[in-house]
């Protein structure tokens, strides 16, 4: 592992951190950039184009020596022609290192191999709020394309000056600027030699339309895939430093327990350094086994408070309202028309309740961090979706300015929304400070199950009204605790009341891939089938009758066609169902075929067809990979994943007790991509997941007549009475 470069400048334009301490601003000078990055060309992307436009003017150079503060990415072309892109985004399996490289290669007209992405390093990359919410493709991909286009134009300008000709005659082609009239060319290295050019991205730079893409829009394998198949890639938990110790934290026996007394003697006799600071107790030792044994030898007395249990979960959520709101979703309350009269005067009125359990992310790499102090300066390598957020947490925890903290995120063993926080980073740093040596903390799977956080559990209550002809006239939807992402209906209903109710949560909860959209779509799309059955209309016809959104209609129709919707069943136990929706700017329709073995109660998802539309497709194969992965991961929460807990303890916090999807669970996955090259590219890591659970629920009804309204649906199989 390479030591972090010690640089005099900390490139820290601005922060948008929700919980950060005092906002520090550092003006970044052009000269400092080149001191850090080397000579060449730098193009900076600023978040507020208006401000930049004012500063950059036609000359594209800022007056004075400093660049704007609100930078979200920059690109450097060195004197050797090598391209380095700096972004605060983090790679954990979404393959954005590859898709962002494609975007830069496209606009800059260079081979992908010449581009290096520096990601998620708080000292080298611009501030970034975090990698979540499917934001990388719609925002960072677009910004980097603009940055690369601006760099290309700068190179063309340099070549034009060199040849004393007009820029409009020149083209960029395979790492060179060429004059097609004379066929003379100059490569980027030659053009960059001796330059120290910095420019701020103009507000609008013409981009290559998706229909003309050459590199973007094509399937490209994981860019550094070889490091992964050879075991050479170093994940956060693989990091190592000379003199490094292994840390381990003493966990309370249950949530909310407080430490009464502590006797560390036995642990110290074993050769471990014991740190006791408030409720934090941990050890640092020469090996992880020794650290674990030392923690086990600490004699601690805890005081526990009674805690809610899983058996009363949904009741608890209904009875324990809390303040606040859900900033991640679609708003907490939405009302249109007159819903009460519509429900009162309905031809058919239907009321159903749905629930979802807490589930765990189970990233295969658990939380891990390696921390190292140099005086008051702290460096931490850790797996997190929010390197800058974790830097803020570390600064706050140790009461040091953020510019003394550097967080680096090596490409990580997945997150799925579960790695927004910096627990392991803080623990490693606390132990390292006491031990005066670098300390690595890697959570065990059991720690990951108990001391991380969960996808929220929730209760959804739906009341609806429909006319005999299949027109939905009233829709009332309440969500307790799970969240407001995807809570709004995309069906055209004149009278609606939609409310998110924040409640107290018995367990620590947080982000999870697709957030509450999974729960809200499960309830809504299950209910749509219930309504269709009530008025005896085919579920697809019923949806289309109440749906105007053309993009959503298109995915439903495409998936139905590929699935062969309307075909007769060919065997007993077979069932077909659908679900779909709109989330994070993408459109999905999912059709499922299930087989229910009435004797054994086994429910097997046999086939899943997904039609997905996310604007112009950047990397078709990478996109398919994300959609397939969403379906496989979604199977777990739909069928069998649930955290069970009792009085402050997780009861199934091991992989031998918590079932996640395996090879044998995987259905035939068929994916239809609708490539809208006329629309901006948006993200795909989350939306494809949301249609699966209702599609399975509706298929189970089709197979058995049994309506399952709780996720997971069949943790113990399906008993048909």
């Amino acid at each position: 592992m390479s030591e972090p470069t010690k640089s005099q400048v900390v490139l820290e334009p601005e922060r948008y951190e929700l919980r950060a301490a005092a906002p520090y601003h550092f003006d970044v000078g052009r000269r400092e950039f080149f001191k850090l990055l080397g000579a060449g060309i730098v193009v900076v992307s600023a978040l507020k184009p208006a401000l930049v436009g004012q500063e950059s003017g036609g000359a594209r150079q800022r007056r004075g020596d400093s660049l704007p503060r609100e930078i979200d990415a920059w690109l450097h072309i060195g004197e050797d022609g090598k391209v380095t892109v700096y972004t605060g985004k983090a790679e954990m399996g979404q393959n954005i290192r590859t898709s962002l490289t494609q975007a830069v290669a496209e606009e800059l007209h260079v081979p992908m191999e010449t581009i290096k992405l520096v990601m998620g390093d708080t000292q080298l990359t611009p501030f970034d709020m975090g990698t979540f919410g499917s934001r990388t493709t719609p925002t960072m991909n677009l910004q980097l394309r603009k940055v690369a286009a601006a760099a290309r134009d700068t190179l063309i300008g340099l070549a034009a000056a060199h040849w004393k000709t007009e820029a409009q005659h020149l083209v960029a082609d395979d790492g060179k600027i060429r004059d097609p009239r004379t066929n003379q060319s100059l490569d980027y290295a030659a053009l960059t030699k001796g330059q120290q050019l910095a420019q701020t991205l103009p507000a609008e730079d013409p981009l290559i339309p998706a229909s003309n893409w050459k590199v973007a829009g094509r399937s490209v394998s994981k860019i550094n895939g070889r490091e992964f198949v050879t075991g050479a890639h170093r994940y956060p938990s693989d990091q190592r430093l000379p003199e490094m110790l292994y840390g381990k934290v003493l966990r309370p026996p249950s949530f909310g327990a407080t430490l009464v007394s502590l006797d560390p003697k036995k642990a110290e006799q074993m050769g471990a350094a014991v740190v006791h600071d408030g409720d934090f107790v941990g050890v640092a030792a020469s090996g992880s086994d020794l650290a674990a044994a030392a923690v086990a030898a600490i004699q601690a007395e805890w005081k526990s408070e009674p805690q809610p249990s899983g058996t009363e979960l949904f009741d608890y959520l209904k009875k324990n309202p809390a303040g606040g709101s859900d900033p991640t979703g679609d708003g907490d309350r939405y009302e249109t028309g007159k819903v009460d009269p519509a429900l009162a005067s309905a031809d058919h009125k239907l009321q159903s309740n749905y629930t979802v359990s807490y589930i765990a992310h189970v990233p295969l790499e658990p939380r891990a961090a390696l921390a190292k102090w140099d005086g008051d300066n702290l460096t931490v390598w850790t797996g997190t979706q929010r390197p800058f957020g974790v830097r803020g947490q570390l600064a706050e925890a140790f009461r040091i300015p953020e510019e003394h903290v550097r967080v680096l995120m090596p490409d990580t063993g997945s997150g799925y929304g579960g790695k927004h926080t910096g627990e392991a980073a803080i623990e490693a740093a606390r132990l390292a400070r006491a031990a005066k040596r670098p300390v690595k903390v890697v959570w065990t799977r059991e720690e990951e199950f108990s001391w991380a956080y969960f996808r929220p559990a929730g209760v959804m209550e739906v009341t609806s009204a429909v006319r005999g002809d299949g027109t939905i006239t009233g829709w009332e939807f309440h969500n307790y605790n799970s969240g407001s992402a995807g809570i709004r209906t995309y069906y055209d209903i004149p009278n609606q009341r939609i409310v998110f109710h924040p409640t107290k949560s018995p367990l620590r909860q947080g982000s999870y891939r697709a957030l509450a959209a999974t729960a809200n779509h499960f309830a809504r799309e299950s209910h749509m089938d219930e309504l269709a059955h009530a008025v005896k209309i085919d579920p697809l016809d019923f949806r289309l009758k109440n749906l105007k959104d053309q993009r959503l209609r298109a995915v439903f129709e495409a998936a139905a066609k590929r699935f062969g919707w309307g075909a007769s069943k060919t065997k007993p136990g077979q069932g077909f169902g659908m679900g779909g929706g709109y989330e994070k700017l993408g459109y999905i329709a999912t059709f499922a075929e299930v087989n229910v073995d009435r004797k054994s109660g086994e429910v097997k998802v046999v086939r899943v067809v997904s039609a997905f539309e996310c604007g112009a497709v950047v990397n078709p194969d990478g996109l398919r990979n994300q959609i397939e992965g969403s379906n496989v991961q979604g199977l777990g929460g739909a069928l069998f994943e649930a955290i069970t807990f009792e009085n402050g303890k997780i009861l199934n916090g091991r992989l031998s007790q918590y079932r996640v999807p395996r090879f044998s669970d995987v259905p035939l996955l068929d994916t239809v991509l609708i490539d809208r090259t006329d629309l901006p590219s948006v993200g795909a890591g989350e939306c494809p997941m949301i249609g699966l659970a209702p599609a399975i629920a509706n298929a189970i009804v089709d197979a058995t007549g049994v309506r399952l309204r709780s996720l997971p649906m069949v943790p113990d199989g399906l008993k048909i009475g």
Binding site: V229, Y235, L364, G629, Q633, R654
Partner: protein, 164 residues
Amino acid sequence: MPKLGLAINGRAYTVDVDPQTSLLTVLREGLDLTGSKYGCGEGQCGACTVLIDGKAQRSCITKVESVTGRQITTIEGLATADQLHPVQAAFLDADAMQCGYCTSGMIMSAVALLKRNPAPQENEIIDFMDGNLCRCGTYPRILGAIQKAARSMAAPSAAKRAAR
């Protein structure tokens, strides 16, 4: 502590550890061979899979004393010089990974499977690989990669037979 002799990737090592220590800990902490991953510590996820005398074994639940004098192969020992093992090449070609954390264990299990059964049926692959978890859900690609590797490993020997 007693010194133990280990043969890993064709190289002899002597380690000075408690014989009860897991092979995974010895590989990762003692020898800095970090390609084998920790995922669960109870043999449930397969991320730590290595070959012991050619057979797949979960190194997290393997005591180091039980493998002295045996041939241990880890992901780091699979490729020769610049030549990837056909299973590695197939995983790369099929893009059979997202975060890649399960990849080394998947590859080691697949190598063991193909050693035992060079032309496995799809259901045989699924049965054998069911103990390896990919939380990103790339199973269909991994399945395809293993089938592809089986074909490419069979091809040279088929060619040899044809030449005879």
